[in-house]
Symmetry: C3
Subunit: 135 residues, 3 copies
Amino acid sequence: MRFTEIAIDTGSRKIIDITDKVREFCRDQGDGLCLVFAPHATAGLALMETGSGSESDLEDTLERLFPHKDIYKHRHGSVGHGANHILPVFVSPSLTVAVRKGLPVLGTWQSIVFVDMNADNPHRRVQCSFVGSPQ
Amino acid sequence: MRFTEIAIDTGSRKIIDITDKVREFCRDQGDGLCLVFAPHATAGLALMETGSGSESDLEDTLERLFPHKDIYKHRHGSVGHGANHILPVFVSPSLTVAVRKGLPVLGTWQSIVFVDMNADNPHRRVQCSFVGSPQ
Amino acid sequence: MRFTEIAIDTGSRKIIDITDKVREFCRDQGDGLCLVFAPHATAGLALMETGSGSESDLEDTLERLFPHKDIYKHRHGSVGHGANHILPVFVSPSLTVAVRKGLPVLGTWQSIVFVDMNADNPHRRVQCSFVGSPQ
Protein backbone atom coordinates (compact mmCIF):
# COMPACT_ATOMS: atom_id res chain seq x y z
CA MET A 1 0.00 0.00 0.00
CA ARG A 2 1.38 3.39 -0.93
CA PHE A 3 1.59 5.55 2.16
CA THR A 4 2.92 8.97 3.04
CA GLU A 5 2.84 11.37 5.92
CA ILE A 6 2.53 15.08 5.27
CA ALA A 7 3.66 17.69 7.80
CA ILE A 8 1.33 20.63 8.31
CA ASP A 9 2.29 23.83 10.04
CA THR A 10 -1.01 25.27 11.11
CA GLY A 11 0.48 28.30 12.87
CA SER A 12 -2.52 30.31 13.99
CA ARG A 13 -4.69 29.06 11.12
CA LYS A 14 -7.63 26.81 11.92
CA ILE A 15 -8.74 25.79 8.42
CA ILE A 16 -5.87 24.79 6.14
CA ASP A 17 -6.27 23.83 2.49
CA ILE A 18 -4.25 20.65 1.88
CA THR A 19 -5.62 19.79 -1.58
CA ASP A 20 -2.32 20.39 -3.36
CA LYS A 21 -0.45 18.08 -0.99
CA VAL A 22 -2.98 15.28 -1.50
CA ARG A 23 -2.87 15.88 -5.25
CA GLU A 24 0.91 15.56 -5.19
CA PHE A 25 0.71 12.19 -3.41
CA CYS A 26 -1.96 10.89 -5.81
CA ARG A 27 0.03 11.89 -8.91
CA ASP A 28 2.18 8.77 -8.60
CA GLN A 29 -0.80 6.43 -8.24
CA GLY A 30 -3.20 4.97 -10.79
CA ASP A 31 -6.88 4.23 -10.15
CA GLY A 32 -8.10 3.50 -6.63
CA LEU A 33 -9.09 4.97 -3.29
CA CYS A 34 -7.03 7.42 -1.25
CA LEU A 35 -7.69 7.60 2.47
CA VAL A 36 -6.70 11.00 3.85
CA PHE A 37 -6.31 10.72 7.61
CA ALA A 38 -5.40 13.01 10.50
CA PRO A 39 -3.86 10.96 13.36
CA HIS A 40 -4.87 13.52 15.99
CA ALA A 41 -7.60 13.58 18.63
CA THR A 42 -8.46 17.24 18.13
CA ALA A 43 -8.51 17.68 14.33
CA GLY A 44 -10.75 16.74 11.44
CA LEU A 45 -10.79 16.77 7.64
CA ALA A 46 -13.48 18.14 5.37
CA LEU A 47 -14.38 18.99 1.82
CA MET A 48 -15.48 22.58 1.27
CA GLU A 49 -15.11 25.59 -0.97
CA THR A 50 -12.22 27.79 0.11
CA GLY A 51 -11.40 31.40 -0.70
CA SER A 52 -14.93 32.83 -0.56
CA GLY A 53 -15.33 33.40 3.15
CA SER A 54 -16.53 29.95 4.20
CA GLU A 55 -13.41 29.25 6.27
CA SER A 56 -14.36 32.14 8.54
CA ASP A 57 -18.00 30.97 8.57
CA LEU A 58 -16.86 27.50 9.58
CA GLU A 59 -14.80 28.87 12.47
CA ASP A 60 -17.85 30.81 13.67
CA THR A 61 -20.10 27.76 13.29
CA LEU A 62 -17.70 25.48 15.18
CA GLU A 63 -17.47 28.01 18.03
CA ARG A 64 -21.27 28.26 18.10
CA LEU A 65 -21.81 24.48 18.18
CA PHE A 66 -18.78 23.56 20.32
CA PRO A 67 -18.01 26.68 22.36
CA HIS A 68 -14.68 27.05 24.14
CA LYS A 69 -16.36 27.58 27.50
CA ASP A 70 -16.02 25.95 30.88
CA ILE A 71 -18.69 23.32 30.20
CA TYR A 72 -16.53 20.22 29.61
CA LYS A 73 -15.43 17.42 31.88
CA HIS A 74 -12.29 16.75 29.83
CA ARG A 75 -9.49 17.07 32.34
CA HIS A 76 -6.54 18.42 30.35
CA GLY A 77 -5.58 21.68 28.65
CA SER A 78 -6.93 25.19 28.97
CA VAL A 79 -10.54 26.19 29.67
CA GLY A 80 -12.75 25.02 26.85
CA HIS A 81 -10.15 22.60 25.46
CA GLY A 82 -12.79 19.88 25.76
CA ALA A 83 -14.44 21.42 22.68
CA ASN A 84 -11.43 20.44 20.58
CA HIS A 85 -11.93 16.81 21.57
CA ILE A 86 -15.56 16.87 20.45
CA LEU A 87 -14.77 18.29 17.00
CA PRO A 88 -13.45 15.06 15.36
CA VAL A 89 -16.68 13.24 16.24
CA PHE A 90 -18.53 15.64 13.94
CA VAL A 91 -15.75 16.51 11.51
CA SER A 92 -14.14 13.14 11.01
CA PRO A 93 -10.34 12.82 10.65
CA SER A 94 -10.98 10.05 8.07
CA LEU A 95 -11.80 11.13 4.52
CA THR A 96 -11.81 8.94 1.41
CA VAL A 97 -11.54 10.24 -2.15
CA ALA A 98 -11.41 8.36 -5.42
CA VAL A 99 -8.32 8.61 -7.62
CA ARG A 100 -8.43 8.24 -11.39
CA LYS A 101 -5.27 8.27 -13.47
CA GLY A 102 -3.39 9.84 -10.59
CA LEU A 103 -5.92 12.59 -9.98
CA PRO A 104 -8.14 12.87 -6.91
CA VAL A 105 -11.74 13.06 -8.16
CA LEU A 106 -13.10 16.29 -6.69
CA GLY A 107 -15.82 18.69 -7.73
CA THR A 108 -14.82 22.07 -9.16
CA TRP A 109 -15.39 23.90 -5.89
CA GLN A 110 -14.22 21.24 -3.47
CA SER A 111 -10.99 21.56 -1.52
CA ILE A 112 -9.68 19.20 1.14
CA VAL A 113 -9.17 21.10 4.37
CA PHE A 114 -7.58 20.29 7.69
CA VAL A 115 -9.79 21.58 10.53
CA ASP A 116 -8.12 22.30 13.84
CA MET A 117 -9.50 24.61 16.52
CA ASN A 118 -6.67 23.67 18.88
CA ALA A 119 -4.27 26.63 18.77
CA ASP A 120 -1.82 24.98 21.18
CA ASN A 121 -0.18 22.67 18.67
CA PRO A 122 0.97 24.24 15.38
CA HIS A 123 2.71 21.06 14.12
CA ARG A 124 0.33 18.51 12.66
CA ARG A 125 0.39 15.52 10.33
CA VAL A 126 -1.85 14.07 7.66
CA GLN A 127 -1.44 10.54 6.32
CA CYS A 128 -2.38 9.41 2.82
CA SER A 129 -2.93 5.72 2.05
CA PHE A 130 -3.62 4.54 -1.50
CA VAL A 131 -5.25 1.23 -2.37
CA GLY A 132 -5.29 0.56 -6.08
CA SER A 133 -8.00 -1.20 -8.02
CA PRO A 134 -6.93 -4.74 -8.97
CA GLN A 135 -6.67 -5.34 -12.72
CA MET B 1 -11.69 0.96 -11.19
CA ARG B 2 -15.37 0.79 -12.00
CA PHE B 3 -16.85 4.25 -12.01
CA THR B 4 -20.17 5.83 -12.81
CA GLU B 5 -21.87 9.16 -12.48
CA ILE B 6 -25.52 9.33 -11.53
CA ALA B 7 -27.70 12.34 -12.35
CA ILE B 8 -30.03 13.49 -9.60
CA ASP B 9 -32.92 15.85 -10.10
CA THR B 10 -33.51 17.24 -6.67
CA GLY B 11 -36.33 19.57 -7.70
CA SER B 12 -37.53 21.16 -4.48
CA ARG B 13 -36.55 18.11 -2.40
CA LYS B 14 -33.73 18.43 0.08
CA ILE B 15 -33.29 14.82 1.18
CA ILE B 16 -33.28 12.34 -1.72
CA ASP B 17 -33.05 8.56 -1.30
CA ILE B 18 -30.47 7.27 -3.80
CA THR B 19 -30.13 3.72 -2.42
CA ASP B 20 -31.63 2.08 -5.49
CA LYS B 21 -29.22 3.88 -7.80
CA VAL B 22 -26.21 2.81 -5.76
CA ARG B 23 -27.58 -0.73 -5.59
CA GLU B 24 -27.88 -0.77 -9.37
CA PHE B 25 -24.24 0.24 -9.80
CA CYS B 26 -23.04 -2.36 -7.28
CA ARG B 27 -24.98 -5.20 -8.94
CA ASP B 28 -22.27 -5.58 -11.55
CA GLN B 29 -19.44 -5.69 -9.01
CA GLY B 30 -18.17 -8.47 -6.76
CA ASP B 31 -16.72 -7.95 -3.28
CA GLY B 32 -15.07 -4.66 -2.36
CA LEU B 33 -15.62 -1.07 -1.31
CA CYS B 34 -17.89 1.42 -3.04
CA LEU B 35 -17.19 5.11 -2.55
CA VAL B 36 -20.33 7.18 -3.03
CA PHE B 37 -19.34 10.77 -3.63
CA ALA B 38 -21.10 14.08 -4.28
CA PRO B 39 -18.78 16.41 -6.25
CA HIS B 40 -20.53 19.54 -4.98
CA ALA B 41 -19.57 22.16 -2.40
CA THR B 42 -23.07 22.47 -0.94
CA ALA B 43 -24.26 18.86 -0.64
CA GLY B 44 -23.61 15.84 1.53
CA LEU B 45 -24.43 12.14 1.76
CA ALA B 46 -25.77 10.25 4.74
CA LEU B 47 -27.17 6.97 5.93
CA MET B 48 -30.57 7.21 7.61
CA GLU B 49 -34.01 5.66 7.85
CA THR B 50 -36.39 7.15 5.31
CA GLY B 51 -40.16 7.13 5.13
CA SER B 52 -40.90 7.62 8.83
CA GLY B 53 -40.61 11.36 9.14
CA SER B 54 -36.88 11.66 9.71
CA GLU B 55 -36.30 13.51 6.43
CA SER B 56 -38.44 16.35 7.73
CA ASP B 57 -36.70 16.18 11.13
CA LEU B 58 -33.34 16.41 9.39
CA GLU B 59 -34.39 19.50 7.45
CA ASP B 60 -35.50 21.13 10.71
CA THR B 61 -32.26 20.13 12.45
CA LEU B 62 -30.08 21.45 9.64
CA GLU B 63 -31.96 24.78 9.69
CA ARG B 64 -31.56 24.95 13.46
CA LEU B 65 -27.80 24.22 13.37
CA PHE B 66 -26.96 26.08 10.14
CA PRO B 67 -29.67 28.74 9.79
CA HIS B 68 -30.24 30.52 6.48
CA LYS B 69 -29.77 33.92 8.06
CA ASP B 70 -27.54 36.88 7.32
CA ILE B 71 -24.70 35.67 9.55
CA TYR B 72 -22.21 34.40 6.96
CA LYS B 73 -19.22 36.03 5.32
CA HIS B 74 -19.51 33.82 2.22
CA ARG B 75 -19.76 36.32 -0.60
CA HIS B 76 -21.98 34.63 -3.21
CA GLY B 77 -25.63 33.68 -3.55
CA SER B 78 -28.72 34.75 -1.68
CA VAL B 79 -28.93 35.69 2.00
CA GLY B 80 -28.02 32.70 4.14
CA HIS B 81 -26.43 30.81 1.24
CA GLY B 82 -23.30 30.54 3.40
CA ALA B 83 -25.15 27.88 5.42
CA ASN B 84 -25.15 25.60 2.39
CA HIS B 85 -21.36 25.78 2.24
CA ILE B 86 -21.04 24.75 5.89
CA LEU B 87 -23.26 21.68 5.49
CA PRO B 88 -20.72 19.37 3.76
CA VAL B 89 -18.24 19.88 6.61
CA PHE B 90 -20.70 18.16 8.93
CA VAL B 91 -22.53 15.94 6.42
CA SER B 92 -19.65 14.71 4.31
CA PRO B 93 -20.05 14.25 0.54
CA SER B 94 -17.83 11.14 0.84
CA LEU B 95 -19.48 7.90 1.99
CA THR B 96 -18.02 4.40 1.80
CA VAL B 97 -20.06 1.21 1.89
CA ALA B 98 -18.95 -2.41 1.63
CA VAL B 99 -20.17 -4.53 -1.29
CA ARG B 100 -20.57 -8.31 -1.06
CA LYS B 101 -21.56 -10.36 -4.08
CA GLY B 102 -22.80 -7.23 -5.81
CA LEU B 103 -24.91 -6.01 -2.89
CA PRO B 104 -24.15 -2.92 -0.79
CA VAL B 105 -23.99 -4.07 2.83
CA LEU B 106 -26.56 -1.92 4.63
CA GLY B 107 -28.65 -2.40 7.74
CA THR B 108 -32.37 -3.08 7.36
CA TRP B 109 -33.37 0.52 8.08
CA GLN B 110 -30.47 2.29 6.37
CA SER B 111 -30.92 4.22 3.16
CA ILE B 112 -28.31 6.29 1.36
CA VAL B 113 -29.55 9.86 1.02
CA PHE B 114 -28.34 12.92 -0.83
CA VAL B 115 -28.62 15.98 1.42
CA ASP B 116 -28.87 19.36 -0.26
CA MET B 117 -30.32 22.50 1.36
CA ASN B 118 -29.41 24.55 -1.71
CA ALA B 119 -32.68 25.06 -3.60
CA ASP B 120 -30.98 27.03 -6.37
CA ASN B 121 -29.55 24.06 -8.25
CA PRO B 122 -31.97 21.17 -8.99
CA HIS B 123 -29.46 19.25 -11.15
CA ARG B 124 -26.91 17.31 -9.16
CA ARG B 125 -24.53 14.39 -9.59
CA VAL B 126 -23.31 11.50 -7.49
CA GLN B 127 -20.26 9.43 -8.41
CA CYS B 128 -19.75 5.78 -7.49
CA SER B 129 -16.26 4.24 -7.51
CA PHE B 130 -15.75 0.54 -6.86
CA VAL B 131 -12.47 -1.01 -5.76
CA GLY B 132 -12.61 -4.78 -5.63
CA SER B 133 -10.85 -7.00 -3.17
CA PRO B 134 -7.83 -8.71 -4.77
CA GLN B 135 -8.12 -12.52 -4.98
CA MET C 1 -12.97 -9.63 0.97
CA ARG C 2 -12.34 -10.41 4.60
CA PHE C 3 -15.45 -9.65 6.61
CA THR C 4 -16.59 -10.07 10.19
CA GLU C 5 -19.45 -9.00 12.37
CA ILE C 6 -18.79 -8.01 15.97
CA ALA C 7 -21.50 -8.15 18.63
CA ILE C 8 -21.64 -5.19 20.99
CA ASP C 9 -23.55 -5.15 24.25
CA THR C 10 -24.07 -1.50 24.90
CA GLY C 11 -26.05 -1.98 28.10
CA SER C 12 -26.70 1.51 29.38
CA ARG C 13 -23.50 2.90 27.83
CA LYS C 14 -23.77 5.38 24.98
CA ILE C 15 -20.12 5.65 23.92
CA ILE C 16 -18.34 2.30 23.63
CA ASP C 17 -14.66 1.90 22.80
CA ILE C 18 -14.36 -0.83 20.14
CA THR C 19 -10.72 -0.25 19.18
CA ASP C 20 -9.51 -3.59 20.54
CA LYS C 21 -12.14 -5.50 18.57
CA VAL C 22 -11.19 -3.75 15.33
CA ARG C 23 -7.51 -4.33 16.11
CA GLU C 24 -8.21 -8.04 16.58
CA PHE C 25 -9.89 -8.26 13.16
CA CYS C 26 -7.06 -6.38 11.46
CA ARG C 27 -4.36 -8.57 12.98
CA ASP C 28 -4.97 -11.25 10.38
CA GLN C 29 -4.81 -8.82 7.45
CA GLY C 30 -1.89 -7.24 5.64
CA ASP C 31 -1.90 -3.74 4.13
CA GLY C 32 -5.14 -2.15 2.98
CA LEU C 33 -8.29 -0.36 4.06
CA CYS C 34 -10.68 -1.49 6.78
CA LEU C 35 -14.24 -0.21 6.66
CA VAL C 36 -15.80 -0.22 10.11
CA PHE C 37 -19.56 -0.05 9.74
CA ALA C 38 -22.59 0.03 12.04
CA PRO C 39 -25.64 -1.42 10.22
CA HIS C 40 -28.10 0.53 12.40
CA ALA C 41 -30.25 3.59 11.75
CA THR C 42 -29.64 5.12 15.19
CA ALA C 43 -25.91 4.65 15.77
CA GLY C 44 -22.66 6.13 14.53
CA LEU C 45 -18.91 5.58 14.73
CA ALA C 46 -16.24 8.09 15.60
CA LEU C 47 -12.58 8.58 16.41
CA MET C 48 -11.91 10.31 19.72
CA GLU C 49 -9.78 10.23 22.85
CA THR C 50 -11.35 8.08 25.55
CA GLY C 51 -10.74 7.94 29.29
CA SER C 52 -10.29 11.67 29.92
CA GLY C 53 -13.90 12.77 30.23
CA SER C 54 -14.69 13.35 26.56
CA GLU C 55 -17.26 10.54 26.43
CA SER C 56 -19.38 12.44 28.94
CA ASP C 57 -18.78 15.69 27.04
CA LEU C 58 -19.92 14.02 23.85
CA GLU C 59 -23.14 12.81 25.48
CA ASP C 60 -23.84 16.34 26.68
CA THR C 61 -23.05 17.79 23.25
CA LEU C 62 -25.29 15.31 21.43
CA GLU C 63 -28.16 16.08 23.82
CA ARG C 64 -27.60 19.81 23.28
CA LEU C 65 -27.54 19.54 19.47
CA PHE C 66 -30.16 16.77 19.09
CA PRO C 67 -32.33 17.03 22.21
CA HIS C 68 -34.64 14.18 23.20
CA LYS C 69 -37.66 16.45 23.20
CA ASP C 70 -41.04 16.31 21.53
CA ILE C 71 -39.90 18.22 18.43
CA TYR C 72 -39.62 15.39 15.89
CA LYS C 73 -42.04 14.10 13.29
CA HIS C 74 -40.53 10.61 13.37
CA ARG C 75 -43.47 8.38 14.17
CA HIS C 76 -42.03 5.49 16.20
CA GLY C 77 -40.57 4.96 19.67
CA SER C 78 -40.66 7.07 22.80
CA VAL C 79 -40.77 10.89 22.98
CA GLY C 80 -37.61 12.31 21.49
CA HIS C 81 -36.66 9.08 19.75
CA GLY C 82 -36.48 11.09 16.52
CA ALA C 83 -33.19 12.51 17.82
CA ASN C 84 -31.60 9.06 17.60
CA HIS C 85 -32.47 8.92 13.89
CA ILE C 86 -30.76 12.26 13.24
CA LEU C 87 -27.51 11.23 14.95
CA PRO C 88 -26.07 9.02 12.15
CA VAL C 89 -26.39 11.88 9.65
CA PHE C 90 -23.84 13.81 11.70
CA VAL C 91 -21.90 10.92 13.25
CA SER C 92 -21.64 8.56 10.32
CA PRO C 93 -21.92 4.79 10.81
CA SER C 94 -19.24 4.39 8.11
CA LEU C 95 -15.61 4.85 9.15
CA THR C 96 -12.52 3.88 7.15
CA VAL C 97 -9.08 3.31 8.65
CA ALA C 98 -5.83 2.26 6.99
CA VAL C 99 -4.20 -1.01 7.99
CA ARG C 100 -0.44 -1.61 7.76
CA LYS C 101 1.08 -4.98 8.55
CA GLY C 102 -2.09 -5.98 10.37
CA LEU C 103 -2.31 -2.85 12.50
CA PRO C 104 -4.98 -0.15 12.15
CA VAL C 105 -3.14 3.15 11.63
CA LEU C 106 -4.39 5.39 14.44
CA GLY C 107 -2.93 8.35 16.26
CA THR C 108 -1.72 7.88 19.84
CA TRP C 109 -4.88 9.35 21.37
CA GLN C 110 -7.42 8.04 18.89
CA SER C 111 -9.89 5.31 19.78
CA ILE C 112 -12.71 3.98 17.62
CA VAL C 113 -16.00 4.43 19.44
CA PHE C 114 -19.54 3.24 18.83
CA VAL C 115 -21.98 6.10 19.49
CA ASP C 116 -25.54 5.18 20.37
CA MET C 117 -27.97 7.44 22.22
CA ASN C 118 -30.75 4.88 21.81
CA ALA C 119 -31.06 3.17 25.19
CA ASP C 120 -33.84 0.87 23.98
CA ASN C 121 -31.62 -1.64 22.19
CA PRO C 122 -28.58 -2.94 24.11
CA HIS C 123 -27.61 -5.47 21.42
CA ARG C 124 -25.74 -3.97 18.51
CA ARG C 125 -23.43 -5.04 15.71
CA VAL C 126 -20.40 -3.62 13.95
CA GLN C 127 -19.12 -5.00 10.66
CA CYS C 128 -15.49 -4.89 9.51
CA SER C 129 -14.59 -5.27 5.83
CA PHE C 130 -10.98 -5.43 4.70
CA VAL C 131 -9.81 -4.71 1.16
CA GLY C 132 -6.13 -5.40 0.68
CA SER C 133 -3.77 -3.49 -1.52
CA PRO C 134 -2.97 -5.44 -4.72
CA GLN C 135 0.68 -6.48 -5.06
